[in-house]
């Protein structure tokens, strides 16, 4: 499978995953969006040296990944580039913040190293939480939740159109790449001499198709507002889910669970 096909497959797979029949998917998207926002804000609120406290927040991710039947390896594979980028965010910290935090035998752990790891895990947890939300909620459901939060409809329409434009552009890329490969057998990738015309054609073709799709939407009465497809949700469970998780996340933020467990184990 080439990269374009893989990318299209990933988007469709995400859409299909979000249509499955499971507890998490049956919940109202607003409750999932709310929990995700609370989780990300809580994760971001940790002090840069509060490594222990931050680690307790991984419990949410573990529990949701299990209940949502999501594969950790699959998630790591999909997010590897983002995680690598995130890793480089704090790479300079150990060089600037050289004060010693702990000594374990001959090894010294500096505050810079802790802040680097904290920064990495903060970003990684936020990325994983967003990933879980996307995997368990279709783009229509997310937009519906945003609509409920009174996010301007123009923004919601933009999100939905970008999602569709992305697929369409990938399909055009796939078509052009296949046509190129069939007439350039044995060649790896696209020869640099064809890059200019390839990108130019891709832009023109995808814009042309986008225009036709937009015409099609206008012909069917589209007037700037995208009405997300509203399914039947378990409202009672959704309220309970949001309430319990918000309480749990705030409790985990206030109570250093791992430190307490560590102390109990040592004693």
């Amino acid at each position: 499978m080439n990269k374009q096909t893989q990318a299209i497959h990933n988007i469709h797979e995400a859409d299909e995953l979000a249509q499955r029949d499971s507890f998490l998917i049956s919940l109202h998207p607003l409750s999932k969006l709310l929990v995700t926002i609370v989780y990300i804000m809580t994760v971001m609120s940790f002090h840069k040296y509060d490594w222990n406290g931050l680690m307790t927040m991984s419990l949410y991710l573990i529990i949701i990944m299990i209940t949502g039947e999501l594969s950790l390896l699959g998630a790591l594979r999909r997010l590897k580039i983002v995680l690598m980028a995130v890793f480089f965010l704090g790479i300079a910290n150990p060089f600037f913040d050289r004060e010693i935090a702990y000594s374990i035998g001959a090894y010294q752990i500096r505050f810079g190293m802790i802040s680097m790891l904290t920064l990495f895990f903060k970003a990684a947890f936020a990325v994983f939480a967003s990933y879980i939300l996307i995997k368990t909620t279709s783009i229509e459901d997310i937009c519906y939740a945003l609509q409920k939060l009174h996010v301007p409809s123009i923004l919601i329409t933009e999100i939905m159109l970008i999602h569709r434009y992305l697929i369409m552009m990938l399909r055009e890329t796939q078509r052009m790449f296949q046509a190129y490969q069939l007439r350039a057998p044995g060649q790896k990738g696209i020869h640099y001499s064809a890059w200019g015309s390839f990108v130019g054609q891709l832009l023109l073709r995808s814009m042309d198709r986008a225009q036709r799709i937009h015409d099609g939407m206008l012909l069917r009465g589209f007037q700037g507002t995208f009405y997300p497809n509203i399914r039947t949700y378990r409202v009672g469970f959704s309220i309970l889910y949001a309430a319990l998780w918000c309480i749990a996340i705030i409790t985990l933020r206030l109570v250093p669970l791992f430190t307490i467990i560590g102390r109990i184990v040592i004693h």
């Binding site: 859409d15 229509e140 799709i213 069917r220 009465g221």
Partner: protein, 251 residues
């Protein structure tokens, strides 16, 4: 009541110089009224699709008179015109953009502001009519070319329009689905305009046919007369429909 009126219509695609883009239509005249089924035929590039695109207001830079139900086709009237006029694209991928067939068929009725129950009834009826009820919750990308075509037609049927414009509707359909489409179109009330290269399809669905050539309508009359006129068809880059050729061979 659906009605189309065209008087002295001229159109050319916009470009820097007139030489680059020749005139597509010159002083074209046409009239269609309720319950007519009209075929639009002509060689490649004569403007069959352009003709339909002008009618639905995708192209509005024309000269002359172009009225749908007594409303001139201009930006101000597009909402009113399009609420009563359905257009099936030649390329189904331009028509279908939602995730599933159901969502796509429901897109038009939703924009019409109908209630959920009414939307569901319209969608169910359109899917039943096109014989694709079993595909309702299929993702669009998993459909075959023929299924996409039927889904495209369902998206327009669900809007309950009284005028239907179709660009190459039989393209990508297998014989069984083609027959189904002929049946649907023949049962469907209202005005229908069908642009097609499939002359047998035009013969089976349209009582009246117009032949476009060199920017004008060079024939407007009963379908049977034009489709049996071998000389005229060949002069305009067309050939006798296959069914007539076989009939000639047998006789």
């Amino acid at each position: 009541m659906s009605k189309i009126e065209i008087k002295d219509l001229s159109f050319r695609y916009l470009s820097r110089t007139k030489e680059q883009n020749p005139t597509i239509f010159r002083q074209l005249n046409f009239r269609a009224s309720e319950n007519e089924s009209i075929g639009i035929i002509g060689a490649n590039g004569v403007g069959k699709s352009t003709f339909l695109r002008l009618l639905v207001g995708i192209l509005t830079e024309y000269e002359g008179l172009l009225q749908i139900n007594d409303l001139p086709v201009c930006r101000e009237n597009l909402t009113a015109i399009r609420s009563r006029l359905g257009y099936v694209f030649q390329d189904s991928d331009s028509q279908l953009f939602m995730n599933t067939v159901y969502e796509d068929v429901a897109f038009g009725p939703k924009n019409q502001g109908l209630s959920d129950a009414e939307i569901q009834a319209r969608v169910t009826k359109a899917l039943e009519k096109t014989g694709i009820s079993h595909l309702a919750h299929q993702p669009i990308y998993k459909l075959s070319g023929g299924q996409k075509k039927l889904a495209s037609i369902a998206t327009v049927l669900s809007m309950g329009t009284d005028t239907l414009l179709m660009d190459e509707p039989s393209a990508a359909l297998d014989p069984e689905n083609r027959e189904l489409l002929i049946q649907i179109l023949n049962e469907l009330p209202g005005l229908k305009l069908i642009a097609s290269h499939d002359l047998d399809f035009v013969y089976d669905t349209c009582q009246r046919t117009i032949l476009l050539s060199n920017g004008i309508i060079c024939y407007d009359g009963p379908t049977k007369d034009i489709l049996t006129d071998q000389k005229r068809l060949e002069e305009n880059g067309l050939r006798l429909p296959l069914s007539f050729r076989f009939r000639n061979l047998n006789s």
